[in-house]
């Protein structure tokens, strides 16, 4: 903060124009996910991370369902071929509007394809699913790749969503959310008539940090 004030004073001195007013960057347009408080900024990268079974994929399918319901065209780059079309359809996604690319466990291919899709333009949501990639492998993705994505996607109406185990996009991401397991809901009596009812999920915004955690339930498909 101090350095920005100093910079402002030096610019004002250089231009000979005291009291320059800084124009604030306009707030990004948000892409709803169907979960209040978890909207994704357009023209920016959203990084969602967490351990397995923490609700990352449920958030992804909710975002896909919401975007396709708005008739937007979406792309899902599936690094480990883990996407279940039936889950997405049950969540309300229009599968005809989702370009699903299976990369067979190759994150390098996933990054190349994500680049092609962002450059092509016209997509409302570009989702990069790295959740099945080991964190040690994901950490090897150079930071320059994420900055490249950020530069390519800014000033476009597309939102880029990355799901993974650990945050790798770091400073290139405008929104970072940590997903936590909140428990499992069952119904019926144990050993007799028990049924899986859903997952309790907690989403903790890490960037910007001022936001509050969001708790939501993801219902199991009938």
């Amino acid at each position: 903060m101090q350095s920005s004030a100093l910079l402002k004073a030096r610019i004002e001195a250089f231009l000979g124009a005291p009291h320059l007013t800084w124009r604030a960057r306009p707030a990004p347009e948000l892409l709803p996910t169907g979960i209040p408080g978890l909207e994704l900024p357009r023209g920016a990268i959203s990084d969602v991370y967490g351990p397995p079974c923490s609700g990352r994929t449920s958030l992804l399918t909710a975002a896909l369902a919401e975007a396709t319901a708005r008739q937007e065209v979406c792309a899902l780059i599936d690094a480990t071929d883990s996407f279940e079309p039936a889950s997405a359809a049950a969540a309300g996604s229009d599968l005809d509007r989702i370009l699903w690319v299976r990369c067979g466990g190759r994150p390098d291919k996933a990054l190349k394809i994500a680049d092609l899709i962002i450059q092509a333009g016209g997509f409302g949501l570009v989702a990069l699913d790295l959740a099945g990639i080991a964190p040690a492998v994901a950490r090897r993705i150079p930071l320059a790749s994420w900055y490249r994505f950020r530069r390519a996607i800014e000033n476009t109406p597309a939102a880029m969503l990355i799901i993974e185990r650990e945050p790798t996009a770091k400073a290139a991401a405008s929104l970072v959310i940590e997903m936590r397991r909140g428990g499992v809901e069952w119904s019926g009596a144990p050993d007799c008539s028990r049924l899986l009812r859903g997952l309790r999920i907690e989403a903790v915004p890490r960037k910007p940090a001022a936001r509050e955690s969001v708790r939501f339930d993801a219902r199991a498909s009938a």
Binding site: G55, V73, A86, K109, I117, G122, A131
Partner: protein, 424 residues
């Protein structure tokens, strides 16, 4: 003046059209047995209208067309009806159409069945009887079709001839003096052919949604590639990139001796864009992107998922990606709670499971282990017993002590356990 050639019972009008083409380029194939054409300006070559008609009769007789009737009149319809109703050569003088056509039966007008019945009930048998009826009354009772028949019965008509559509083939081929082994020189040749074909498509108002490339190879069977596009295009640069990317992915196995390219012409896509329609990828750009993605991810790994009509767990198909156009009037009405999505292991992970009393109690697999603290199941499913890949299994949802939640199953044929998916 117009002439009509009519040969009752003829099924192919090509022979009649061939005879007519010797007299005039303006030809209409009116029916399978009738051809009409414009004979204006032929007086200098053949003499009077009667001479032209007789010249036509001689030409058709020379062509071996049996019972060919020739009629000449001032409008195409009168010529056609005179040819249909009168044997031999008929010349209808201008202004004399109603009198000449009058004795002909109503059937020469080829009226719709319902109207023919009505006219028969009224006792109208000839064109003269129909022409004698008041036009306003006919229109009132028989509608516009009745009015049209009345006009034809009077021999009035001034419609233009409808020329037959020429069948244009959008194909080109090239024989090479020396075999080509590299794709780069082939690209130049393909570009040349594609430029010509796309210009031809453009001139005819068409676009193409299918491109067939056949490469004749040295000491090898021909290499054929078919590119099917979800949207019709006619941009040679886009086609060239698509064909090059496809050849890059599927290169010919031997040097190329000749190439042939054919395009399937269709009407171009017309899209009405709207201010409030969500953005979608440009079709041409999307096609190129999909071709590039296919080159990286491999054939069959990029597209739209489709769930087939089966109960087989995890069944899906990948079809070509062609998002439907957005509808500006469609409102988003989605308001549902989030669903727990599953991440599928492909193939399913083999697991060692302790299952005392048949219920999973402890699980161990690649990267997954722990005590089962809660479970739901078994859900027994089976199907496709008539096929070799029949399936029969007991499915469980299990929660581990570390909070993870999985869908597992026991294959009833082998008795082995597998982890199919993780709820995430």
């Amino acid at each position: 003046m117009f002439a009509a050639l009519h040969s009752p019972g003829l099924s192919d009008p090509a022979r009649l059209a061939e005879c007519a083409a010797d007299f005039s380029p303006r030809i209409e194939i009116t029916a399978a047995d009738t051809v009409t054409f414009d004979i204006s300006g032929l007086a200098h070559l053949f003499g009077s209208t009667k001479d032209i008609a007789h010249a036509l009769a001689r030409r058709t007789a020379g062509a071996g067309i049996a019972e060919c009737r020739v009629a000449v009149a001032s409008n195409p319809d009168a010529a056609v009806h005179a040819a249909r109703g009168t044997a031999g050569v008929t010349v209808v003088a201008p202004g004399d159409e109603a009198r000449t056509l009058g004795p002909l039966p109503i059937a020469v007008l080829d009226p719709p069945e319902e109207l023919a019945e009505t006219l028969a009930r009224w006792g109208i048998r000839t064109l003269a009887q129909l022409a004698a009826l008041p036009e306003a009354g006919i229109t009132e009772r028989l509608g516009t079709e009745g009015a049209r028949l009345h006009r034809l019965a009077r021999g009035a008509g001034g419609r233009p001839l409808v020329p037959p559509q020429s069948i244009t083939v959008f194909e080109d081929a090239l024989e090479l003096e020396h075999p080509i082994t590299l794709l780069e020189p082939l690209t130049f040749l393909l570009g040349r052919i594609l430029n010509d074909l796309c210009a031809k498509l453009d001139a005819h108002g068409f676009a193409a949604h299918e491109v067939r490339l056949t490469l004749k190879l040295e000491n090898a069977p021909p290499h054929e590639r078919v590119l099917r596009l979800p949207y019709p295009m006619r941009d040679p640069k886009a086609f060239l990139k698509l064909v090059t990317l496809d050849l890059d992915t599927h290169p010919p196995p031997a040097p190329i001796l000749a190439l042939a390219l054919a395009m399937e012409p269709v009407n171009p896509r017309v899209v009405q864009h709207g201010l409030f329609v969500p953005l979608a990828p440009e079709p041409q750009k999307l096609e190129l992107t999909l071709a590039r993605i296919t080159k990286i991810a491999g054939e069959g790994n990029a597209g739209a998922a489709e769930i087939p009509d089966t109960h087989r767990p995890g069944a899906f198909r990948i079809k070509p990606f062609a998002p439907p156009p957005a509808d500006a009037h469609q409102k988003s009405t989605r308001n549902v709670t989030p669903r727990a999505a599953a991440r599928v292991f492909r193939p399913a992970l083999r697991a060692d499971i302790d299952a005392p009393n048949g219920r999973p109690a402890r699980i161990q697999a690649c990267g997954i282990r722990g005590a089962v603290i809660a479970s739901a199941g078994p859900w027994r499913t089976s199907g496709d017993w008539w096929r070799e890949d029949t399936w029969s299994r007991d499915e469980w949802d299990i929660a581990l002590s570390n909070g993870a939640l999985y869908r597992i199953y026991r294959d009833r044929a082998s008795g082995e356990w597998f982890i199919e998916a993780a709820y995430d």
